[in-house]
Structures are given as structure tokens and as C-alpha cells.
């Protein structure tokens, strides 16, 4: 089923109080948001919680959606900010829980190949600092252009490029250790 009404129109309608439009937006984007949250954090329960944070924040945030950006770009931005908030809150609570160090999916994966790949991903992601991690997820998994990622993160394109080269460096270091 392809939805012809575009996200931007729905978002504007929802900002104006249209309940159905908001429900439709949630339905369209929940799965994508969850996948994004999961890639940022690497832990299912935490990702569910982050997705919840984002969804509950949306009604208030929607007022600031003015339609000059694509809705998805705007949504990534909301999500990244929510991830920051969350990390900060968790860090201030107790131990700095770092999701990618404790990945339950890895334990569940039955397929050996998947398990290997997952183990590698876990290692790789846990080596990246959070800002590199989110940049890598946006560019690689969500397939944003560097310009889009820059808009989402509120940094310059140059910084995005630099971060990606840092990601590359970290991966190379990991590869050399494995050798």
C-alpha cells in the first residue's frame, strides 16, 4: 500500500491538530525510527525506550515543523536530539551504560555467519565515540547524503566528512588488531 499523501502535508495537518494525520505519521515512521534508534544504541530495550521518547515528544515538537525541510530529515534531527538527551540522562544516573557493549541480539543469533558479523559490528560500534557513531549510522545505514547528515546533526558538511574519515580510521585500527 503506497500512501500518496506526503509526510510534509501530514505533518502540517498534525501540527494543526489533525489527529488522524498524526496517527498516520506514527504508523508510517515508527518502524524506521525504531531501526534508527537500535542502530544508534545497539540494544533492544534501550532502543524501544528511545523510540518512545521520540514519539511522545513529537506532538510538542511538531509545532516547530515548518515544512522547509523534508519531514524525514526533521524527524532524524528530533531523534538524534532525543538520543543525546537520553545518553546524558543515563550517564548522570549511574554507570555509563554503553549499549553497543551489551548486545543481546548477538546472543540470540542462531546463524553463525550472522553471529560473526554481529560480533564485528558490536566491536566496531563500541570503538566509535557517540558522535562518530550517529554520523556513521546516518550516512551508511540511513543513506543520507553528507549535506543531509550535516543538517540533521547541525554541523558543517566538512565536519561530517571529517567524522567519516575518523570512522574509517577506527575501522582500520580494528582490522589491524584482528590480523
Amino acid at each position: 500500500m503506497r500512501m500518496t499523501t506526503d509526510d510534509e502535508a501530514l505533518a502540517r495537518a498534525a501540527a494543526g491538530g489533525d489527529r488522524d494525520a498524526f496517527a498516520a505519521l506514527l504508523a508510517r515512521h515508527y518502524d524506521r525510527l525504531f531501526a534508527f534508534a537500535f542502530r544508534l544504541i545497539g540494544q533492544r530495550a534501550e532502543a524501544e525506550d528511545l523510540t518512545q521518547d521520540i514519539c511522545l515528544a513529537l506532538p510538542a515538537k511538531l509545532a516547530s515543523f515548518r515544512g522547509e525541510a523534508r519531514f524525514t530529515t526533521w524527524l532524524y534531527r528530533v531523534a538524534v536530539n532525543a538520543a543525546h538527551d537520553r545518553r546524558r540522562r543515563v550517564a548522570s544516573h549511574a554507570k555509563a551504560a554503553d549499549g553497543w557493549g551489551d548486545w543481546e541480539i548477538a546472543r540470540r543469533a542462531a546463524d553463525a555467519e550472522t553471529q560473526e558479523a554481529v560480533g564485528w559490528l558490536e566491536q566496531a560500534m563500541s570503538r566509535l565515540k557517540p558522535d562518530l557513531r550517529e554520523t556513521a549510522v546516518l550516512i551508511l545505514a540511513e543513506e543520507l547524503t553528507q549535506a543531509e547528515a550535516a543538517r540533521v546533526l547541525g554541523i558543517s558538511e566538512g565536519t561530517v566528512a571529517w567524522r567519516m574519515s575518523e570512522v574509517k580510521k577506527a575501522l582500520r585500527a580494528l582490522a589491524e588488531e584482528e590480523r
Partner: protein
């Protein structure tokens, strides 16, 4: 080097677990609650602006929370049975001092999400503390465990999701749709308190069994707007929301005007091939109401009866209503009179009868309206009828315009009782029109019944453009009846017609004997109104005949009348009159090519059939409907037909 990145890309892409459905349902439902809380905090009249602070009194916000919680917790029946209790509870809340230090102080809202982490923390606090209900509960709960609000909501969700098929609009289509969007989980919390009035589509009738078809005219247009609002939100409307006659009658047609000094409306008929079936024909019956010179119109007494219950505060309800009434005010004359009654927890006169010339007074009263409280519909109606009666002078037309989202919960529990109540009061001569606003708990069934019984029209206003159509462009028709209790009876000639099927008008069917009975109420026609009715008829000998002839009933046909397909009889009363007059017109059996107007009306009717999942249209689909309508757009000065074509295409996409 890039290989490393490619490996990371592949691994990240592979890390795509499915979300937990229960968690998803709980989150979506909590987000909808947050949405309701957020929207209820938006001040009236400024839907497009960002207004972070709560400018509405605390009492009203508490009520909102109470109401949305209440809606979430009870079934419709339970709601009716126990609302009295809650009203009492809410009344206690209202008397709280409004400037007390309860609730969150106004906080700034971030114009755009920003990166800086210091600000980001504040942002988090803002979004979680906003709103009376879900937000508050979430703020205190540590994030590690589910918030209490969600715990209580989840089971309800499950409970209400179950009967969705029969009740909610668009539920059945969504459930049947392929899974990728997973709308099912998102929607149960959505418009589940809507009720639509509809009947089974009328089947094919054999002329030999029942040669006479009788129905009341209908000039309502609400169904079209409801369908549009569903489609624009990306979902197909529920079948019960589709009333084909209201879809067809939404559009203006170019029909011949009545001759001066004759009947107040002119009937015309045509017979043409059916687009979806080569073996049947479309019989179109059209009435065009006269358009009295606008300058001659009698003074008008208007009583706005405005629902200001808590559910009305969405941007597309009370704020839109205020804008609409402002538009309409420009169309009134100085000698017209306007009064206003608001009904919520208690009904009250907001504006004593005021000449329409005193715009400032009227606008000020309009601005004072604020949503809050539950609905005391009966008291409001009582008061509105009393006001209308007090304003009535000889030669004037009085009309009550009821604006509501249809929540008639308090006061009259039984729709039957409500109808009787209105039937008793319409004798006073005041007409009752119903304007529906908003979706979510639109009680279309009640609206429909009110307008039908109250000798008025029901229209549904979802955008300011629709308000313009109903209250400005077609105001005269809305307000000035030219004929009352208009009934149509068609007697088919068994020599020519084997079977017939009336498309739409299911809720308007009359018994044959009611046609000549002037005591039986029927629809009215306003100035300039148009009524279109379509029959799909199967000629004798056509391969499309469905009913095989009976063994014991003679198929003998009366002599004479050959060359006549049917005989049309129309009965109507002059406004305020008690004796009906009769118009008769033979319908020739010779089909002709369909006119532009017929083609467009047929395309809309076919569209309605498709939305209702009708079996009669065969392989003919949305694309064919859109093509037919597109080729019959005619002059279309207001762009209504172009919009229809767009919606047909949209529905086609959604249905695939």
C-alpha cells in the same frame, strides 16, 4: 579502506530487528494521548502558530484530561450511562482558582531541534512535562520501566481493537491491507467513537414484484467531506461513511431552471448507458430549485447553537467554526438577527438576539467562546428553539444552526428520544441545520438524524474552503427553504424495465403509501438547491437481468404507456404549508448519450459504489471513475470536480 566502511554499512543495515508489537502499540497509544494533551493546550483561534504557553485556564485543561481519559476508558454505552457522574466530578474541578500554582508554568518551546547538548536537556523536560495527562505520568516515572499511563492504556487498546471492524471508520480496510505500514497498531486509538448512519445498499428489485420506488429527497453533503478528509489522511473511508446520494449532491450541476411562477423547482430526467455495465441504463432524475432574487429574501433569524464541549477544541473544530461563522456574517443583512447559544456543561445564551449590522458585538461574543466541559445537547436545543421562537415575526425565516462534533452524550441518551424532541419543536417553524466539525468522535448518525428530523441539512466542514462553500457560496440555499417534505416516487413500466436499483438514498427510503400521506416527513429543498437521484435500470430482455421470471406470477403487462420507461411523481409542500402538491412527468424509454452532467454524477455514484465495495460495478474501478469524471468536468468554476478526480485517483492508489 572504503571496504571497511562498506562492511560497516552492510552490518548496520543487517541490524534491523522488528520492533516489539506490544511496545509499539503502547508507545503509539501514549503518543496519541500526548498529542491530544498537546493539542488541547493550543489556544483557540491560532492553530498555525506555535504557542507553547497554556493560556487556557487550568480548570479547562483538567477537564480535557478528564475527558480524554474518560473517552479512553469506556465504551460508548458506558459513556452514556455514566457521564452524569463525570460531569459532577468535572464541575468540582472547574471551581478551582484559575491562577493557582498548579500545573507546569509556561515554558518556551524550541523553534527547531538543536544540537547543543545543554539545550537538549531542557528540551527533554519541556516535552515530557507538557500536557495534563500522559506527560505528567511519564515525567515522574523512571524511563527504565513503563509509565503507569501506558500500562493502563495497553489493555484498553487490545479491547477496543477487537470490534474495530464493525465500528471504526476505515478499520476493516486497514486490517485487510498488506502489513508494511502496520496501520492497525496505530489506529485503534484514533477515531473509534465515530458513528455513521447508513443502511444496506438497496439491491436489485424486479419490477414485476415491486414496480414502485419511493424516497425522500436529500440535499445533505456531509458524506463527501467526510470521505475527502479520510482520503487526504491516507486511508480509505469506512463503508458506512459512504452515502452515495450525499456524494452526488455535493456537486453543483447545470440543470434547467424552473419557469417563473410555476413549481419552486424543475424536474428533469434522462436515460443513458451505464458506464460499468453495457446491458443496463442509468436513469437520472434531477431537481433544480428556484433561486429567488436575493434582494427579495425575507429577514432571517439565525440562532447559532454552538457545541463548546471539551472535544471541540481541536484546531479543526471550534477555531474553524469561529472562522466559518465570521465568513458567514459578511453575507447577512443589517435587518437579519443573530443570537448565540453555547452548550457545554450547561447551556447558556452567549448573545441575545442582535441585528446582524452590529458586527462588533457579534464577533466579540464569538471570540468569547471557549471549549471546555461535556455536552448538554438537550438543554442547548431547548434554549435555541425558545430563542428562535421569540425572534420569529411574520414573514421571517428562522433557522437554528447547530455546530458540533456530534457528541450528544448528556441530556438525551436515546437517539429516538432526541428525534421526538426535535420533531415536537419543528412545529414552531424554525428549521434546524447541522454543521459537523472535526473527526475523532464525529457522531454522523446523530447529526444526520437531527437534520433530517429538524427539516434541515447536514453538512460537514473540514476546511475553511468547505466553510466558504457551505456558508457563503451556498448560504441562500442553506437558509431559505423553497419546498418542504419533497418526496419522489417512480413507477416503472414492466413492459420496458425488468429490474431497477436506486443508487444511494438508503437512509431516505419511504414506504409506497407514505408518498401521498402528508403527515409523513421528508426532505426539504433550499433556494438554488439541486437534487440528483440515479437508478440503474435493466431493460426487458437484457442479458443483465438477475431475477428469473416466476412460475406462478403472470408477466402480463398493462397496455398503453409503451415508449414510456417509467412515470415520475413528485410531491412537495410550500414552506410552512401543510398540503402537498403533485408534479407528474412521464419518462421516455429511449436512451440517449449521457450529458456532461449525467456523466459526472454517474462517475461520483460509481466512485461511491467502489468505496462501499459494491458488487454492481464489476471490473470498473477507480481509474475508470476518475477518467469518466475527468472527461465530464464541465465549467467547474469552483474546482469541485477537479478535486473529485484527484480524490478518485488517490483512492485508487490507496486501494491497491
Amino acid at each position: 579502506m572504503t571496504d571497511d566502511l562498506e562492511t560497516l554499512r552492510a552490518a548496520l543495515k543487517a541490524a534491523d530487528p522488528a520492533p516489539d508489537p506490544e511496545r509499539k502499540a503502547a508507545t503509539v497509544s501514549a503518543a496519541m494521548a500526548a498529542f491530544d494533551a498537546e493539542k488541547s493546550a493550543i489556544p483557540q483561534g491560532s492553530p498555525a502558530l506555535v504557542r507553547p504557553s497554556h493560556s487556557r485556564p487550568l480548570g479547562a485543561r483538567l477537564i480535557d484530561g478528564g475527558i480524554s481519559m474518560f473517552h479512553a476508558m469506556t465504551s460508548r454505552a458506558g459513556l452514556a450511562a455514566t457521564t452524569g457522574l463525570v460531569t459532577a466530578g468535572l464541575a468540582v474541578l472547574i471551581i478551582l482558582p484559575q491562577d493557582a500554582a498548579f500545573g507546569p508554568a509556561p515554558k518556551p518551546v524550541l523553534p527547531e531541534p538543536v544540537l547543543e547538548q545543554e539545550e537538549a536537556v531542557e528540551a527533554d523536560e519541556i516535552l515530557l512535562s507538557d500536557g495534563p495527562m500522559g506527560g505528567a505520568a511519564l515525567e515522574v516515572a523512571p524511563m527504565a520501566e513503563p509509565a503507569p499511563a501506558m500500562e493502563t492504556r495497553a489493555p484498553m487498546l487490545a479491547k477496543r481493537a477487537a470490534p474495530a471492524g464493525q465500528e471504526g471508520f476505515a478499520m476493516s480496510e486497514l486490517a485487510a491491507a498488506p502489513p508494511p505500514m502496520d496501520m492497525v497498531a496505530a489506529l485503534p486509538d484514533a477515531p473509534d467513537t465515530e458513528a455513521f448512519a447508513n443502511e444496506e445498499a438497496s439491491g436489485v428489485t424486479a419490477v414485476a414484484d415491486q414496480p414502485v420506488s419511493t424516497f425522500s429527497v436529500d440535499v445533505d453533503t456531509a458524506s463527501w467531506s467526510v470521505i475527502r478528509s479520510s482520503l487526504m489522511a491516507g486511508v480509505l473511508p469506512g463503508r458506512d461513511a459512504v452515502r452515495i446520494e450525499e456524494m452526488v449532491n455535493y456537486f453543483p450541476y447545470d440543470y434547467p431552471a424552473p419557469a417563473l411562477g410555476g413549481a419552486p423547482f424543475a424536474p428533469s430526467v434522462s436515460l443513458s448507458p451505464t458506464p460499468w455495465n453495457p446491458d443496463t441504463q442509468i436513469l437520472q432524475i434531477a431537481l433544480q430549485g428556484e433561486m429567488p432574487a436575493v434582494s427579495d429574501r425575507p429577514p432571517l433569524n439565525l440562532v447559532f447553537l454552538i457545541d463548546t464541549s471539551g472535544s471541540m477544541q481541536d484546531a479543526n473544530k471550534l477555531p474553524l467554526l469561529k472562522q466559518s461563522l465570521r465568513l458567514m456574517l459578511g453575507e447577512l443583512r443589517p435587518e437579519d438577527q443573530v443570537a448565540m447559544v453555547a452548550y457545554a456543561g450547561s447551556a447558556g445564551e452567549v448573545l441575545a438576539p442582535t441585528p446582524a449590522g452590529e458586527r462588533a458585538t457579534i464577533l466579540a461574543a464569538l471570540d468569547r467562546l471557549e471549549a471546555g466541559g461535556s455536552t448538554a445537547g438537550q438543554a442547548g436545543l431547548e434554549q435555541a428553539y425558545a430563542l428562535a421562537e421569540s425572534m420569529q415575526e411574520d414573514g421571517e425565516v428562522s433557522r437554528i444552526l447547530l455546530a458540533t462534533d456530534g457528541d450528544f452524550n448528556v441530556g438525551i441518551h436515546d437517539p429516538q428520544a432526541l428525534e421526538e424532541f426535535i420533531a415536537a419543536r419543528r412545529e414552531s417553524g424554525a428549521f434546524l441545520s447541522v454543521l459537523g466539525f472535526g473527526r475523532g468522535n464525529l457522531d454522523d448518525a446523530t447529526m444526520q438524524a437531527l437534520a433530517q428530523v429538524g427539516n434541515g441539512q447536514a453538512a460537514y466542514i473540514d476546511t475553511i474552503a468547505e466553510a466558504q462553500k457551505v456558508l457563503v457560496d451556498q448560504l441562500t440555499g442553506q437558509l431559505f427553504p423553497i419546498a418542504q417534505d419533497v418526496k419522489i416516487q417512480v413507477e416503472f413500466n414492466p413492459a420496458e424495465v425488468a429490474e431497477y436499483r436506486l443508487i444511494g438514498y438508503e437512509t431516505r427510503a419511504l414506504r409506497r403509501e407514505d408518498f401521498a400521506n402528508d403527515k409523513v416527513d421528508a426532505g426539504e429543498i433550499g433556494a438554488g438547491h439541486q437534487v440528483t437521484a440515479l437508478y440503474e435500470v435493466t431493460p426487458v430482455g437484457s442479458p443483465a437481468v438477475l431475477n428469473a421470471p416466476l412460475r406462478y406470477q403472470s408477466a402480463e403487462t398493462a397496455d398503453g404507456g409503451t415508449g414510456e420507461l417509467a412515470f415520475l411523481r413528485i410531491r412537495y409542500k410550500a414552506p410552512g404549508g401543510s398540503e402537498s402538491r403533485l408534479i407528474e412527468l412521464p419518462i421516455p424509454a429511449e436512451p440517449s448519450a449521457a450529458s456532461v452532467e449525467t456523466r459526472f454524477a454517474t462517475a461520483v455514484a460509481g466512485f461511491g459504489e467502489l468505496l462501499r465495495g459494491s458488487v454492481h460495478t464489476g471490473d470498473w474501478g477507480y481509474a475508470e471513475a476518475a477518467d469518466l469524471a475527468n472527461g465530464a468536468r464541465g465549467a467547474d468554476p469552483f474546482g469541485y470536480r477537479a478535486e473529485a478526480v484527484r480524490l478518485m485517483r488517490l483512492a485508487g492508489n490507496l486501494a491497491n
